[in-house]
Subunit: 619 residues, 2 copies
């Protein structure tokens, strides 16, 4: 379908926005009136620029407070409309968004609203313009798309139809299936936004907290299927008012926005196919005059972690920790200053290439997928930027991509690995190491990624759309420098778990790699014998455990002796400890007992406070 | 009254918080349990530190999910309580906060809750502890303070009373006057928080958006009068969960918090006096066994601006602008590199003292007050830091204070100025200038102050408590780099108006001084003759004015010729233009016509976009 976006979604000047939308691959834009008003280019210049960039100008919006008014106000509103239509003619825009009246409506009659919209339709038609009437969720009388459609039917004018906005429909909990009762040709425009599950007044929710499709809680794929069944073939346009996106880089946000539309079309196409509809493949329209939905390569949900990469000018401090934790040095890469450590299925790659002046930090994650070429095709279709990786003859070619935080994500083929525990082919590129004795550490339990407040929603969409991760829970933990927000992302099986963390502004939050093990006490004991001092846990914490869980003294003594933290859920227990940081990275060693399947969120403040004491050198 | 604060209000470690609270002048603190759990000092050490600092430990909180449960759960809850009471004894804390059950209550009977609280009271009494039972706004069965009091009455136990929290009472819209029906000795603790007028779920509102008294929308002074009438004499304690305060400097936030309590006590004392009660003065308790409320010097609401000060290493660029706008150079200060320009009541002080490497920026505002010594006493009582000002013999001694953004605020006596338009005495310290011809510019209309997101609430409280400004409206304007939030502060008469602006993170937002005039067209014409190029206004803006207001072509031509902006309200019109920035400062020239008494908020995005074009050198 035709991919469009409202200019209000992006930061910058109107020209910045047009360039970014064209570069990202949008087909058209909605002109948000205030973006034009503050701009010093004439409407003719804007139109010419859009023409040169190959962008259609799909909609002019918003025109407010028109219908349901007294006769004298109607004349004033028609005068206003004439002025706007004149501007639209200069821009060459053929559709205007008319929102249901919020401020000046005094007549609640559908008949009156319809008559007034018919007057507007006459005026619009004389300019070659169509009126897309939209029910705002907070309209004075009209706040339901079914009522706006009823009024549009009553208006019975060739130039009058409706605009449907997923936010205004889904925020009110209205069933979008009713869209199928509207003839497609009377749906003149469609605006899409997702949203988080917030309980606040709908106006604030709408103006500040909308999200791109795939980032919130609504099933917009299903929403689009109703549009297709209604016979709608016009633009799918993003209208996302979001305080963060308004101030992030224009180009980056435009790419992010387009990715959400590509993902959404694919998802809707799959739902239609599942429903038995003939969904289009590869961009071709199906036979029944339906909209063509572009479908991309299947999602290939990772079956596990292949490796985690830490990069620094000097990674030897990390090697000390890995040795203390019982991992084995497996060798140096044949052609690069890159070293591999492992234990069981936990592989840590230490990269000193092109790392001058860099402190140890999380630089990449390799995921095992069933078919790397399909997974790579999907990532490319979602316009994810490729991460360069030099290979030489005889080395495995891995498909790498850059995640929003700058983290490099590699999708590595597991087709050739038939047995559990078999190592990936690329591991043979490392030599002069020791044979991997599998110790207590068996794999990577989860990885804790940290990024700025402005990259969070983009990161959620990346892992959702590219890797098919789910986003079950968002939490927050209080640290000495403020609240840290976390979004857990995971595969349905739990084989891959990521925690996406947003630190308070101006505070760097550590990344960590959590290693799964079968006996955390044994790992902790050996690590201390080898000189590790784990992150110290206060005695007050153990008193708290006693109060919360009624642990016996023997258990508390064991926990305290090894500076372990503890949690219990209805289904099991969680035992874990943390190493101090080297650079920005630390390790956590975790043991899940029974069916414990979450994270020890209540322990995070203990970690944050302890790290703060270590950073400040206070005891 | 005894001034206390919950440790959760502040950032940092528990020790950081104790030091900051003591330094700020608090009498005691509430220990927020998680602050203890993450801390590596023993309870005995915390108690000893608090003793040394002269802080009482007034409350241990929170103990959750106790009452209204099944018998077996009750036993487990009593076990938990015993553990916490043991910790409290080590801390030497005599009161525990028990919140109404949210998670595990299954019995809605007041009788059962009371019996269970009586059991808890017995246990607590054996530790010498009192139980302060609080109705959370989102309690499962108990969410109203009148019900928690009824249950406490039924419990009928010496060690059981209630805790009252203004948030839980006022957020639900419950009438606080009912507090007076509770015997003061059964109110075991009081927690105070203000809040902004947000429409969101009460839990999120409570956990993230509370404010210190005086910063939100509630009349907490009135709230305190009910407590006094009930005979409550215990601590007034701040419990403010706020994401911003959690990450701002601990010391600064503690001072800010104490200021809110000082202001609140004074306000409550005045309300009691107005009500005919015998409010205490100067900290003495009144005769009736009532709590003593400390009253401070009267607020002296400024009658106008004395001057605005711009500081820089080189202020000559500002002088060019002032000359273009028709202000007169009035002279150089006799002893300092400071120059005065004026027109009518608009006085701009240009300060080059100790300004090496500084770009022009807003450094100070002088306000005219009726009695500077009273106004200064009030500021000092509110623990505002003094701004140093060197004076020599024969120069006026001005009382200066530092506002949260670093701006210096001077309170200048107007007692000696009997006539309107008479100049302040300090103006005579400037010589070798020209005589002030009063041009079209008559005074300072408003000043636009900019500060970081973390200083905003503190700034609101400063201007409210020290100067008695009101905070009528908060707005936001979209700029190319994000939303700019503004809070207008003003005196009732409008003689002093300030706009407090918060720019998007990482973006510097200009400060500006708005000069009032009687003929903006004349000012603009002369300024252009003298070489000023005002901030350019797009033609699209004038098209928008035509559409919105139906302005005639002659008016539009006049506006466009002088690059003026325009607004119209129900009561009048607003004509204005902006100069380009010099350093961080620009000037606005405004003419208010008729009863126009607001700001042209819709024009701010036009200014922001134009300044962005000037900054980037794009046309």
């Amino acid at each position: 379908m035709h991919r469009s976006i409202a200019t209000v979604c992006l930061s910058g000047s109107l020209e910045d926005k047009l360039y970014a939308c064209a570069d990202a691959g949008f087909d058209g834009v909605e002109i948000f009136e205030p973006d034009l008003v503050v701009n010093d280019r004439s409407p003719e210049e804007i139109r010419a620029l859009a023409d040169r960039l190959g962008l259609s100008l799909d909609l002019y919006q918003p025109f407010r407070d028109f219908e349901g008014v007294t006769p004298d106000l109607l004349e004033e509103n028609l005068r206003r409309a004439r002025e706007r239509f004149t501007t639209m003619r200069r821009l060459g825009i053929g559709t205007v968004l008319v929102c249901s009246n919020v401020g000046t409506a005094t007549v609640g009659s559908d008949q009156v609203a319809a008559e007034q919209l018919r007057r507007l339709g006459d005026l619009a038609a004389s300019f070659g313009i169509r009126v897309a009437y939209e029910a705002l969720a907070w309209g004075r009388y009209v706040d339901d798309y079914r009522r706006s459609w009823r009024i549009a039917q009553l208006a019975d004018h060739e130039a009058v139809g409706v605009c449907l906005d997923s936010f205004h429909i889904l925020s009110r909990g209205h069933d979008p299936a009713g869209i199928e009762d509207i003839p497609g040709e009377k749906i003149l425009f469609v605006q899409l936004a997702d949203a988080p599950d917030l309980s606040m007044d709908v106006l604030s929710w709408s103006r500040h907290h909308r999200l791109f499709p795939g980032e919130g809680v609504w099933d917009l794929g299903r929403f689009v299927t109703h549009l297709v069944r209604a016979g709608y073939t016009g633009p799918l346009s993003l209208e996302v008012f979001n305080d963060v996106f308004r101030q992030t880089d224009t180009v980056r946000t435009a790419e992010h926005a387009l990715r959400s539309l590509v993902w959404l079309e694919d998802r809707a196409a799959r739902l239609l196919a599942d429903d038995g509809g003939a969904a289009a493949h590869g961009g071709a329209a199906d036979g029944g005059g339906r909209a063509s939905l572009h479908r991309i390569a299947d999602v290939d949900v990772p079956s596990g972690y292949d490796y985690v990469e830490i990069k620094a000018e000097d990674t030897s401090g990390v090697e000390v920790l890995l040795d203390q934790l019982g991992l084995t040095f497996r060798g140096q890469h044949r052609t690069k200053p890159v070293r591999l450590w492992s234990s069981g299925d936990a592989r840590i790659v230490l990269n000193e290439q092109h790392a001058r002046d860099l402190d140890p930090h999380l630089a990449g994650i390799g995921f095992g997928v069933a078919d790397a070429s399909v997974a790579g095709d999907r990532a490319r279709a979602l316009a994810v930027r490729a991460a360069p990786r030099r290979t030489q003859d005889g080395e495995q070619d891995l498909a790498g991509f850059v995640a929003p935080s700058g983290l490099e994500v590699f999708l590595n083929d597991r087709r050739d690995r038939t047995q559990d525990g078999e190592e990936p082919a690329w591991a043979t590129e490392f030599d002069r190491g020791r044979t991997g004795g599998a110790g207590e550490i068996t794999g990577i339990d989860h990885v804790n990624v940290s990024h700025g407040w402005d990259a969070h929603d983009e990161a959620v969409l990346f892992y959702t759309s590219v890797l098919g991760l789910e986003k079950p829970t968002a939490t927050e933990a209080a640290g000495p420098q403020g609240l840290v927000r976390s979004q857990v992302m995971r595969t349905p099986s739990g084989a891959v778990r990521l925690s996406l963390n947003v630190a308070p502004v101006g505070v760097s939050h550590p990344e960590h790699i959590a290693l799964a093990c079968t006996d955390v006490v044994a790992v902790a004991r050996r690590a201390r014998e080898r000189g590790l001092r784990p992150v110290p846990v206060p005695d007050n914490y153990y008193d708290d455990l006693r109060a919360r869980f009624g642990l016996d003294e023997a258990t508390l003594t064991l926990l305290r002796e090894h500076q372990l933290m503890f949690d219990r859920s209805a289904t099991g227990e969680f035992w874990h400890f943390y190493t101090p940081r080297v650079g920005r990275v630390c390790f956590e060693v975790v043991q899940r007992v029974g069916g414990y399947d979450v994270y020890a969120g209540d322990n995070t403040p203990v970690l944050l406070a302890a790290q703060d004491r270590l950073d400040r050198g206070t005891r």
